[in-house]
Each structure stands twice: as structure tokens, then as C-alpha cells.
Assembly symmetry: C2
């Protein structure tokens, strides 16, 4: 049988267990050109919260009654597509279930010998792609510049900070808690970390970025974005990647009231959606893999076990409990 | 005697007459390298309101007791600089007074035969420079795209709209009142105009921009910016030139609460300050003059007379009374 987690209702605020429906159906048979995949790991991402809402966004919402959308890694157990054979490890939109029947054209092979499978959901997966293109293509950091990243201990943030260091920047991370901040500086090589739970972020950024912020990579929004706007350098670039502080709001939060800092500093704020870079993922994977092989880039995953625990696991993203990329382990090999 | 209008107090909200001090002192003698200019026209600009506030901005504030800063046009009545002779018409930072003693290096000659003098404060002055570089360098409109400008009947807005038409764009202006809207469409060649006093701007932009807004040139901020954010096309560019709706706020207004439209639409919002383009003004003047000579660009000035009326004249910018570039006439030739 194929256990599935479906969206039962559009959540108000934080998703509750009752917003989900647990169903079970026979494992499907792959049709012509399709591949049957046993799901092993699922990616849990802040963006999922947005997909649960009605309304226009960069991707259609998940429909009520549909299996929840999720990227994942799994193993091919039956293939009717010439590029895939039983036993292959693959990456793709597998959704929150035990088995996925997917057109082969929508899957990519991953090499379990080159990196542990969860890394293909982390530094070598969407978070890595997001960090790579968002920082390099939109942020365009130059050697000697100051790069600040919010949600710094998360899947995207840790990669952003490490790439910025590789590019010769001063890197400051914003994260919640002394443990995460220590981790960023001691293990991830950040120059400094600001604990938003313990200090005033605006003042801390002023202290840690004496020449102002040249690139701000924002995963958080809200007060954090305002604190960064208040500390921009001339010609700063703000990469709008996400706004996790806002995703569970039930009423629209106020926008950044000091956005005119963009004028004063001749600065730019630009949004990015990783899917736009799909035809360049190989370029990012090549660079990121090389940096990992050279020991210059670390990937850290926070693995939670069991499909049944999906609703609670997802919430860790919003309470800030995860430390590195949050991954749901669905099955052993 | 030289009558001068000085900043007496930092205004709270709209500047009152008591925020100004009227003084009189002997007409100064030009020192070595200086030029004595009889002020004829002064530029009244929304940005002046910002210069009256304490605090960091793109230019230092006017100090209490100082003569109010203003750009203007005047006539040389005595010169100790080799580039200027008595009778020359010049443009520069003349400030709110009858006579200005200015280093020659800070003045530019203007040609009264080529255009009426007030035009050098309008389409051929800072508003024209702002429109030209803000639209073309930051907004980068492409033929067939939709360009929306707020404060469209103002000095910058009319030039933005006309340049956008010259570049083959569909142009929609946002202005207050049926008269201004008619003027934009009938006299300035805009494709459509939205009267923010008479209709819901968000819905009107949806109607007038069926393919979304590719370039939004914002002089207004506040609700107008939100309405534009709600109607962006993919890869839109927002030029932050000003926020006249906010300049007299006594408490910080909320920011644009739908700024995440930048992410959904992979759009960019960027601030500009015209002074950064000083070394390229000649390029803009060349193009703008040529367009005016060909009858493709019109400049409209709203002229108010008398130095004594400066405090009240300035307020017209914020009540929306001016129609075209607001200019204070200080003296006849």
C-alpha cells in the first residue's frame, strides 16, 4: 500500500494536524514513460507553507484533497522509461507519500557514491541551487564586500554564507540562539553571527558591518529586513528569497517601513525563484560538488523520521528548531 | 539688499510659515573665483521637504538658520570667474534669496535663446535629468512594454511618460483630478491616466495594464506603490524616485505590505538619486533638447511669483495644486 498525506484544509496560521488527511491506496503501476519510485527522503521547506494557500503565486497552490507537494529522493523499483533502471537513485517531485509514479522526464539521477542521499536535498538540491543563483546572479558579491544572510543556519543560509566566504566577502549570519550562532562562526566559517533572539538586530548589524551591508540575502522578512535596510551600504543589493517570519500570518504584516533606504543608498531589492534557473542547475551542481570535494563547503541536514510525523516535522521550520536542512526520512533502502 | 528665506525650525508635518525666517542683508561682493547672480527663478521640489529634516539622507540637511537650499536660474551681475560674464544666464544652487554669490565652478551657463528660462528648471533641469536617467538607466523600458508613472502630472512624471512613449511603450499615468488626467492623455500623449482621487488605483491599473506593469516609476509611495506592486508583470522594474505621499508624515508610515510581489514576479525595486548622474547630464540635455526641438517632448511649468510667497508656494506640491513643474519667479530680468 502507498500511504499518502493530503491537504485537507487551507491552514489559518500554523498548519494543524487536522489540516492534513492520511490516506492509503494500492501502489500504482507505472505507465509508458513513467517510473515507480520508492520514496526515501523528502525535503521540508518554508516555501511549502505558501503552496498551501489559495491565490496567485509563482506556482499554483496544492489543491484540497491532493497529495502534498514535496521534492524528494528515492529508489527506482520499476521503470518504463529508457533512462532509468531498478535500483537507480533519483531526485524529483515525489510528494508526501511512500511511492511516487513519475514521468521519467521529470526525474534526475543522483549518485549515492558521490554524496549521502540527503545532501541531494540540501547543498546539492534546491537549497543549494537557491543559494548559488540568488547570491551570485542577483546579489553579485564582490571580494571585500559585506554579505549578510538571514535564516543563516537554515538550508539556504548556510550555503549562501559559505559561498560568500569563498568569494572573498565578510559574512555575517542572522540566526536564532547561541548554538546556531556558534555553529555558523565555528563550523561554517562565518565572520560573525547575530542572535536575533538575544540582541537588537539593527544595532548588532551596525556593529558587525561597519562599512554597511553590500549584499543582504533575506529568507526571513519582517523586522529582520527592516534592520538590514537600516544598515545598507551604497549600491547594496537585497535578494528577496523568502519571508519565513510572515508565512503563517493571518493578516498581512506591515511592509518594510524604511524601504526608502533603497533611494538614500541607491540600492536594489530583487526577488528570485529558483525554478527560473532550471536550465543552469548543472552548472551549480558542478561548482558546489567541487567545493564540497575540496572541503570548502559543508552540507548539514536535520533528519526527522517517519511519514506519519510529517505535520509536526514541518512545523520545526517555523519554530526554528531545525539546524541545517530539514529532511523527512520516509524509508530505509 | 538681499532678502533671504532661512529655515527657522524643523517642521512637523507640513511646513508652516513659522518654520521660516525672513532676513535681509547687504548684497554680497563676489570673492576670487566667485560669481554674483541675481536670482530669477527657483525650483520648488518635493525633495526639499526631506532636506528640512534632521538625519542621514543622500544629502546633508539644511541647518537651522541657514538660507533654504534651492536650485535656480539667474543672471550674472558681477563675475570674478573667467568663464562667466555680466549678463550670462546661469543655473545652479542659488538658494531661496534675491542674490547668490557662488563659486563659478558650481554654475552652468544656460542659453535663453534655446528655451525659456524656467524650462531649465523643468525638462532641461533636475526633473528632466531625474526622468531621463531614472527611466532609461534603472527602468530600462523596452518597446511594447507597459510603463506606469505616479505623480504623472508633476515635473518628473510628465517627462517620464513622454520619454516612455518615445521608446515605444504603453504609458499609464497616475494623477489627482480629472483635469490632470485629461491633460496627460490629450496633451502629453499618455495612453491612459488613472485619477487616484476618483477611483481605486489597484483596480484601475489592472484595467489599464492587462499584461501587467513592466516599469513602475514611483514618485508617490504609500498606497500607490502597493497598488503597482499588486499589478506587476514578470521581471518588472520599480524605480524608487520619491515618496511624496510620505514626506510630511509625523510617524513612519507602514511599508508596502505586498513587497513579496517582488519575489512572485522576479521583480526589482531600485532607488535612484539624480546627482549620481552629474557627469552624464550633458548626454540627457542633448537628447531632451533634440526631442523638444522635434516637438516630441513638452515641458510645462507652473509659475508662482514672489520670494515672500515661498512658504505657501512650496505647499502646493503636497496638496497637489501644481500642474507641471512648480517654479517660483523671484525677479524679472
Amino acid at each position: 500500500m502507498n500511504r499518502q498525506v493530503r491537504l485537507a484544509a487551507r491552514p489559518v496560521g500554523l498548519p494543524k494536524r487536522s489540516d492534513w488527511q492520511f490516506t492509503s491506496e494500492p501502489v500504482p503501476e507505472p505507465g509508458e514513460g513513467e517510473v515507480l519510485v520508492k520514496v526515501r527522503y523528502l525535503s521540508l521547506d518554508p516555501a511549502m507553507r505558501g503552496w498551501m494557500n489559495e491565490g496567485k503565486s509563482y506556482i499554483p497552490p496544492v489543491g484540497i484533497g491532493e497529495v502534498m507537494r514535496a521534492g524528494g529522493i528515492g529508489q527506482v523499483i520499476a521503470s518504463r522509461h529508457p533512462d532509468f533502471a531498478e535500483g537507480d537513485s533519483v531526485s524529483g517531485r515525489l510528494n508526501v507519500q511512500d511511492y511516487a509514479c513519475v514521468p521519467g522526464a521529470q526525474l534526475s539521477k543522483v549518485d549515492p557514491a558521490a554524496a549521502p542521499l540527503p545532501v541531494y536535498l540540501s547543498a546539492l538540491g534546491m537549497p543549494g541551487m537557491t543559494a548559488y543563483f540568488g547570491l551570485l546572479d542577483i546579489g553579485k558579491p564582490q571580494p571585500g564586500e559585506t554579505v549578510v544572510v538571514s535564516g543563516a543556519a537554515g538550508a539556504v543560509g548556510t550555503v549562501v554564507g559559505q559561498i560568500a566566504k569563498l568569494k572573498g566577502c565578510r559574512v555575517v549570519g542572522i540566526a536564532g540562539g547561541a548554538g546556531k550562532c556558534r555553529y555558523l562562526v565555528e563550523e561554517m566559517g562565518f565572520d560573525a553571527a547575530v542572535d536575533y533572539k538575544a540582541e537588537d538586530v539593527r544595532a548588532a548589524l551596525r556593529r558587525e558591518c561597519p562599512k554597511g551591508i553590500d549584499v543582504f540575502f533575506d529568507n526571513v522578512g519582517g523586522d529582520t529586513l527592516e534592520a538590514a535596510l537600516a544598515n545598507l551600504a551604497r549600491h547594496a543589493r537585497i535578494v528577496i528569497c523568502g519571508a519565513i517570519s510572515q508565512y503563517n500570518n493571518t493578516t498581512p504584516a506591515p511592509g518594510p517601513k524604511n524601504y526608502m533606504a533603497l533611494l538614500v543608498n541607491r540600492a536594489r531589492m530583487e526577488g528570485m525563484v529558483v525554478f527560473d534557473y532550471a536550465d543552469r542547475y548543472a552548472e551549480a551542481v558542478r561548482d558546489l560538488s567541487a567545493w564540497m570535494a575540496e572541503g570548502k563547503l559543508k552540507s548539514r541536514e536535520h533528519i526527522v523520521c517517519g511519514l506519519d510525523g510529517f505535520p509536526e516535522a514541518l512545523l520545526k521550520l517555523f519554530t526554528g528548531e531545525n539546524f541545517g536542512k530539514l529532511v523527512l526520512k520516509v524509508a530505509d533502502a
